[in-house]
Symmetry: C2
Subunit: 189 residues, 2 copies
């Protein structure tokens, strides 16, 4: 039941519509969780019913009306409780890792192609997170921002996103090199 808390945490940045929220979660810019639009709409409905968020209708012309949500005091209390409770350990669960685990017994050409693509995706995310970080910190240095900024949560999670994707990319590159070298030196039966 962490999606609800992820939504609450995301809404701390200010009022958002379900659609805006979905954009953030979908692209994975929300580097601390991931969810489909439909899940978010459903969760917002539940959260509103329980009084943890409140929405207000914003009438728009030339496009559909939307509902902007913000976290209520009860929602903040819920986040507080959640934070105090033990976190369940985070596990890696990655299709690509499964494939690499089986690398000795399957065709490596397809695998190398996928590793290459993954490395590119990772690089794109590094760039994206990098620009997000510099936007968050403005003209301050990282040190200064982290000491005196007033909303460092997103910055810290983004830092982890960058580190994760760098590790991801480097590992892909390394693995590609290993697999390619083996393909050349000894042709598999």
């Amino acid at each position: 039941m962490a999606l609800r808390h992820a939504v609450l945490a995301a809404l701390l940045d200010g009022e958002l519509s379900g659609y805006q929220l979905a954009k953030a979660f979908d692209v994975g810019v929300a580097n601390f969780w991931y969810a489909q639009p439909q899940q978010l709409y459903a969760e917002l409905t539940r959260l509103e019913k329980e009084g943890l968020v409140a929405g207000r209708e914003v009438v728009q012309e030339s496009r559909p009306n939307k509902r902007l949500f913000h976290v209520t005091d009860a929602g903040l209390a819920e986040l507080e409780t959640f934070t105090a409770a033990a976190s369940k350990p985070a596990f890696v669960r990655d299709d690509l890792l499964v494939k690499v685990q089986a690398a000795d017994r399957v065709d490596t050409a397809a695998l190398v192609a996928q590793l290459t693509e993954r490395a590119q995706v990772a690089q794109a995310k590094i760039d994206l997170f990098g620009s997000l970080l510099s936007r968050l910190r403005g003209d301050r240095t990282e040190e200064d921002f982290l000491r005196h900024g007033d909303r460092i949560g997103p910055y810290l999670t983004c830092l982890r996103g960058v580190a994760f994707e760098q590790e991801n990319r480097d590992w892909c590159v390394r693995t590609i090199a290993v697999l390619e070298e083996r393909r050349q030196s000894h042709v598999r039966p």
Copy 2:
């Protein structure tokens, strides 16, 4: 539907019983996936029904009999198909990140405690993976092993496990430092 493939990939290391498999997946030594024992037993049953794995009964005295499973040719073909198909991108999904995202608005003392614990767990995993790596490579150097070893899949995934946990630990340490410093300098309202 990647659990089935994770099981297949794990069974490439040799015959395993459901229980042994469960041990590997449960502790997270299986650094490429994670699952509960019950899921694995269920999956093994399905896989056997579909002919992707085959089991043989091993009669034991002084402890319950067990069934050892191995991957069939059909199972290997299935792994091949899986490897050729596109991988879905891997997302970070971590309770702790959600909490850090909300760090500006909740009690940081509890958060710091959890980050500390997470850092310790990460360090323990680094050590575990480290010894696993050296066991896998035996007396060879990493370079040599990756070039000429005959089962490098587990080694490569383990390398990623180490990198992931190191990043994890470092980020926790950094985040703790940031939060602690802010707690001292300006008391939150």
